[in-house]
């Protein structure tokens, strides 16, 4: 593994670097917990790595919670998410996803941007963000930003919409309704061990009810079950208007079947497609148990 490394200190310098390198082969490095593995497995020739970890701009590194949204700069680490009390209270799915990522050590370096841009079907933070229907803020080398729904962000395993002159600047999550009351939200991660585990199957959900218990908002995403993380839209729509604590057996099964219709898992060394489907179905039901 051999590469040149460039260390921009500000977003402005980063834009300059990206412009300069347009004719060269470059990659971004944030926490490196995916990148180094990838390069070790498959070394790349004449590679320049643009090191993002020295950029200090808060838009890139900070986590802000305002009345209408949560904004995380691309360099926000899993550790930072875990330590934020407000996120833990209002967006348990995100907190739990970050907490189950790898280990304490890796969480210190692993970033939201890296988790999204690596576009792994089993990305945990990414899966939670899909359930939260986040928006990705993409900046190009002229400094222009655009915001796209996260469901449009992933094109396939290890493929995103980000172009060569672009990078991920941050992620936006809309605030919960009505002071974040009546939230049912969790990240269910299945693997063999309790840490240092890559999801064999994951299910992220973020559901809100009104004061009567009727579901007014539902976000459900599945990980490690298809070429990309998927938002189970039909399953979400199915829930709207139903009483969260009165979902009966038949409805649970119907909901689970709808979730499962988004799954298209593979058989690999970690599990068979059969297992992944079976577990996904069971987990979907378990939300209401």
């Amino acid at each position: 593994m051999d590469f040149e490394i460039i260390n921009p200190a500000t977003t402005l310098e980063l834009l300059g670097t990206i412009n300069e390198l347009q004719s060269k082969h470059f990659r971004f490095g944030a926490g490196y917990s995916d990148l180094l593995m990838e390069l070790k497995k498959k070394p790349e020739e004449n590679l320049v790595v643009i090191n993002l970890s020295q950029i200090k701009d808060t838009a890139f590194t900070g986590l802000t919670i305002s009345p209408d949204h949560v904004r995380m700069g691309a360099m926000v680490t899993a550790h930072k998410i875990v330590m934020n009390e407000q996120l833990n209270k209002d967006y348990p799915v995100l907190h739990q996803a970050a907490l189950t990522l790898a280990s304490t050590q890796i969480r210190q370096v692993a970033t939201v941007g890296g988790n999204l841009c690596t576009a792994s079907p089993s990305g945990d933070i990414a899966c939670a963000l899909v359930a939260l229907i986040a928006h990705c803020e993409i900046m190009d080398s002229t400094g222009k930003t655009k915001s796209i729904p996260i469901t449009d962000f992933f094109l396939g395993p290890r493929k995103t919409v980000i172009k060569k002159n672009e990078f991920l600047n941050g992620v936006l999550v809309s605030a919960n309704n009505k002071l974040s009351k009546n939230i049912y939200s969790a990240f269910l991660k299945i693997g063999t061990r309790r840490s240092m585990e890559c999801s064999v199957v994951s299910l992220a959900y973020h559901i809100q009810t009104d004061d009567d218990g009727d579901i007014i908002h539902a976000g459900v995403a599945i990980g490690a079950s298809a070429p990309t993380i998927r938002f189970a839209k039909d399953a979400c729509d199915y829930l709207i208007g139903k009483r969260f604590d009165h979902i009966h057996q038949k409805e649970k099964e119907e909901f689970a079947t709808k979730v499962l219709s988004y799954a298209d898992p593979i058989t690999d060394i970690r599990a068979t497609a059969w297992y992944r489907k079976e577990v996904l179905y069971n987990l979907s039901k378990s939300i209401f148990e």
């Binding site: 299945i190 061990r193 890559c198 059969w274 297992y275 079976e278 987990l283």
Partner: protein, 765 residues
């Protein structure tokens, strides 16, 4: 009556703990000798192939490369327990680890680059990756170096044992249960990867090796045989070892290869495995298929056991092939059983070969046996604890195989875990739809006082006290992390009244230390401890004599305490260092040195494998509670209750370390760890997919030592190192079966196997 000790039995931290946790310990990886080169090994691309040609010409040309060797460049003997393993392979490759060529270069990077320049032409052939297929007459002969001693060309080793009248006991049986159990490949995953530094001095033709072997004297002999040298021209120094667990019992090809590179270049050469190489090319626990049939009479007494084992030997034979020595002990002698017939074959395949691994076949045997005991209890409608207590081993028993249980904590261990786990009183609250709880019991028997598998199972000690009152223990035994240095120092401190900070243990150099057979069979505290106590006895006689002279007393009974030698029942004594100075510096000028060789009372087994093979025997029982998630198949181990007959607790802290570490290896064996193979290749040579458990998976471990004070053991102690791992998988499997009413026959019990079994039971798969 229990004797009070000042040091023995106290929770004294491991003496090398500080250097280890501060990073000051010098591992093999840290060694840097002047002019040292870096070695690297080219392994075969195909697990089974004809090697048509090897072209190293480009590699040799690469600047920075000093030497490239293949089988054609060296004059060596085969290695391995059966001498069926060429160090460098010629003509054919038989397993994915096969060493084709090796390079020594200025840097690691150049060495790796040189490997890429070596061109090998392979003619791929169909390999044999299943031991049963290898036994088929039509299978090719896999290893060409065996003599054809057995009826089938692919049998590497076989064992037959029996006692009692099997047919008679079958007739007496009310119930008979038969099952086939399949056991996986497990790797040691030592924290430090395999490493060696070899330095050949081409002036005096002597070879110096920095090696992490567990058995330096056998290693010295094996290395000499491989390289056609004189053993005493080879000096083995053991740097700090980052994990053994049995993996370093065999000498592996990379070690003589490194020596050969040093001999060829006249420079020191170092080989260090990468983590991936460690997964691929270090030994494993033997995979095997165990067919077990066992019976029980109407009252619950065990009648007979009939065992047939096929072990996948891989392409070459290591010590691993001899694990049936231990396996048959479990079947013949764990619980009373009137008749036993045991057959085991190690069969060559084109898979990776096994080695030895903590427990030495016993976890496999105990898993099968303890599962079948649960099934027999089920057939009888008898309680699973009661059937075990009824048949438990007893003090004074001589087993069918001739093992003498002079002390025996088997029943007490079982009773202890049955009581503390609340096995009889607990309600499992299994009304939850999703999560099901279960509890399982298993026990074990293992050698506890060495194992006579070599002409001597002994250990030598030279002990000296210097004129300043410091003590040096030069012991044949070695430290591989298990804490033997600390325990030996504690014994010397107890007996000589010298504080631990004044005691040094020298144990790393074959040129200095006396003979010992090595670290294995949970033997070190027992054998090296007894050896040290023997040396202390002799030295004390000398010191007592001098002290008596000095104190002008006819007393010959002394207390050694606080660096003083004090006649018993008096207050006035003399400083130990003063006595030593008197010995050294006044006529007749004698050194305060003593040597002793301890040989355990154990015997070689006869050709029928009968005889009292160990100085004493260790017993243990575990009761384990699990919770299974029927939605995912995940098993959560909740509580592990473990009672172990340790003879005597020498140091509760170190003992606890052995218990916890062993149990966690056992949990991994039960639930997650398996080196997966397809057509001879390893699919998961990394920690990502080889699922070793982490700190967050550790269950609550409740440990109850049982002290039986064996008269053979130092202070009554027995070996403890392997036992904690042995019954764990069996107890977990029993607990899972208890929770879900399943019949678990394979390890590891991964979540998918559980969901599959549940679906099959429901008829949905």
């Amino acid at each position: 009556m229990k004797k009070e000790y000042k040091v023995i039995g106290k929770p004294i931290p491991k003496q090398d703990a500080n250097i280890r946790v501060t990073g000051k310990a010098i591992y093999g990886h840290d060694i840097l000798l002047p002019g040292m080169l870096y070695g690297a090994i080219l392994r075969t691309e195909h697990p089974s192939a004809i090697i048509e040609s090897i072209d190293v010409s480009e590699a040799i040309q690469l600047p920075g490369v000093h030497c490239v060797i293949t089988a054609d460049d060296v004059d060596v003997n085969n290695i391995g327990y059966k001498r069926d393993h060429p160090i460098l392979k010629k003509g054919e490759a038989n397993c994915t680890r096969d060493e084709i060529a090796a390079v020594a270069a200025d840097t690691k990077e150049i060495a790796q680059q040189a490997l890429r320049l070596i061109k090998v032409n392979y003619r791929i052939r169909k390999g044999v990756y299943d031991a049963f297929e290898a036994l088929d007459e039509s299978a090719p002969q896999i290893n060409k170096f065996i003599s054809g001693k057995f009826e089938n060309k692919n049998i590497a080793e076989k064992f037959h044992y029996e006692h009692g009248n099997l047919e008679e006991e079958k007739k007496k049986s009310k119930h008979i249960v038969s099952r086939r159990f399949t056991l996986p490949r497990m790797t040691h995953a030592c924290m430090a990867t395999s490493n060696i530094t070899a330095s050949f001095n081409n002036i005096d033709k002597k070879l110096l090796l920095y090696s992490s072997t567990q058995v330096p004297f056998l290693y010295q002999r094996d290395m000499a045989h491989a390289l056609k040298m004189n053993p005493s021209d080879i000096r083995v120094i053991q740097p700090v070892i980052g994990g053994g667990f049995g993996s370093k019992l065999d000498m592996h090809p990379f070690e003589p290869i490194c020596a050969l590179l040093s001999i060829k270049t006249g420079r020191p050469v170092q080989i260090i495995y990468s983590r991936e190489e460690e997964f691929i090319a270090s030994p494993i626990r033997q995979p095997m298929v165990i067919d077990l049939t066992a019976g029980v009479d109407k009252d619950g007494n065990f009648t007979f056991r009939e065992i047939n084992i096929i072990k996948d030997n891989g392409a070459y034979t290591s010590w691993g092939a001899t694990t049936p020595f231990v396996i048959m002990q479990a079947f013949s002698s764990l619980y009373k059983v009137k008749a036993c017939r045991f057959d085991a074959k190690a069969v060559y395949t084109n898979n990776i070969f096994a080695g030895s691994f903590r427990g030495y076949g016993n976890p496999q045997a105990t898993f099968a046996l303890e599962r079948v005991i649960d099934l027999l209890a089920g057939e009888l409608g008898m309680d699973k604890a009661d059937i075990r207590l009824l048949n438990a081993n007893e003090k004074g028993e001589v087993t069918g195989q001739g093992l003498h249980y002079d002390t025996c904590g088997h029943k007490e261990c079982l009773e202890t875990v049955i009581e503390h786990s609340g096995y009889r009183t607990r309600s499992l609250q299994n009304n939850d739809k999703r999560y099901k709880r279960g509890i399982g019991i298993a026990s074990m028997l293992h050698v506890g006082g060495g194992a006579k598998i070599y002409r001597s199972d002994g250990c030598g000690t030279t002990l000296k006290i210097d004129p300043y009152g410091y003590c040096t223990i030069i012991t044949g035994s070695n430290e591989i992390g298990q804490g033997s240095e600390t325990v030996l120092a504690m014994m010397a401190s107890e007996e000589l009244g010298i504080e631990l900070s004044k005691i040094k243990v020298i144990n790393t150099d074959t040129d200095v230390k006396p003979w010992d057979v090595g670290v294995h069979a949970s033997r070190t505290s027992f054998v090296a401890g007894n050896s040290l106590l023997g040396a202390i006895r002799i030295l004390k006689e000398k010191l007592n004599k001098k002290a008596a002279e000095f104190l002008k007393t006819s007393h010959f009974d002394f207390d050694y305490s606080d660096n003083m030698i004090i006649p018993v029942n008096t207050k006035e004594g003399i400083a130990l260092d003063k006595v030593v100075r008197e010995m050294h510096f006044s006529a007749p000028n004698e050194l305060a040195i003593a040597s002793f060789f301890y040989e355990p009372s154990s015997k070689f087994q006869d050709k029928d494998f009968k005889g009292n093979v160990s100085g004493t025997y260790a017993f243990a029982a575990q009761a384990i509670e699990v919770e299974v998630d029927t939605y995912t198949g995940n098993v959560k181990v909740l509580d592990i209750y473990v009672a172990q007959d340790v003879g005597k607790v020498l140091n509760p802290l170190l003992l606890g370390g052995q218990i916890e570490g062993g149990i966690l290896q056992g949990v991994g064996y039960a639930l997650t760890e398996e080196l997966l193979m397809k057509e001879g290749r390893i699919l998961n040579p990394n920690f990502h997919n080889y699922k070793m458990l982490t700190a967050s998976d550790i269950p609550d471990i409740h440990f109850y030592p049982v002290e039986t004070l064996d008269k053979e053991g130092p202070y009554g102690a027995k070996g403890v190192g392997e036992a904690p791992l042995i019954p764990t998988a069996a107890a977990i499997a029993n607990a899972i079966c208890n929770a879900l009413d399943l019949d678990v026959l394979d390890l590891p019990i991964i979540p998918e196997k559980i969901l599959t079994a549940l679906a099959e039971k429901k008829g949905t798969k």
